[in-house]
């Protein structure tokens, strides 16, 4: 088995597992952290698939922007909920 094959299998498996963990995490504030890790692993897979352009974009969007928005939305909804 070649090096590329090993890298591919490892990164694909990591992505599949991380994606499942994101879905299985019911608590959205913890989900934001897992989502960020998932985004990073996707970026890694894209590097292995020879797509540096896509990896750059994925790492920026998937590990920083979207998780930050999730955290902010969760905080806002908590503030609203605490008055009920």
């Amino acid at each position: 088995m070649t090096e590329t094959n090993v890298l591919l299998i490892v990164s694909l498996t990591l992505v599949a597992v991380a994606g499942t963990v994101v879905v299985a995490t019911g608590e959205p504030s913890r989900q934001a952290v897992v989502l960020s890790v998932f985004g990073l692993l996707l970026g890694l897979l894209f590097v292995v698939l020879q797509a540096p352009d896509v990896a750059l974009s994925q790492i920026g969007v998937g590990t920083a922007v979207v998780p930050l928005m999730v955290v902010l939305a969760v905080r806002k909804i908590r503030q609203l909920g605490s008055r009920r």
């Binding site: 299998i9 994606g19 896509v54 969007v61």
Partner: protein
């Protein structure tokens, strides 16, 4: 091995849908939609991949005849990612608005509210 990349893409899609169906929180729902969408990136880049080929960027010194992976699917995945981020933003904004109006983001409770 040759099917594995495609199966991972299909798995992400179905896992994301499963999360949407089981979700108890609209923020969780929005995140699951983005996981389902990430299956499309894996599928696109998987189809464009070629063993032994380089990235579709010709750095100085690399002959322009050397094999590269498919750039068209990469361009599609790139737009896909940006669209996914903005759609997630829109869904999260809707979730915040629903929390303000109804005081809950649990889909089942919201359903009960409507009667």
């Amino acid at each position: 091995m040759s099917l594995y990349a495609y199966l991972v893409a299909g798995w992400l899609l179905l896992a994301g849908f499963f999360g949407v169906v089981r979700s108890r929180d609209l923020v969780h729902t929005a995140v699951c939609v983005s996981v389902a969408q990430s299956g499309t990136y894996v599928l696109l880049l998987g189809i464009g991949f070629q063993r032994g080929a380089g990235a579709p960027v010709f750095a100085p010194g690399i002959p322009t005849t050397s094999p590269v992976v498919d750039p068209v699917v990469q361009a599609m995945a790139l737009t896909d990612i940006v669209v996914s981020a903005t759609v997630t933003a829109l869904l999260l904004a809707i979730a915040v608005q629903i929390a303000k109006r109804h005081g809950t983001v649990d889909p089942d409770e919201l359903h009960a509210l409507r009667g």
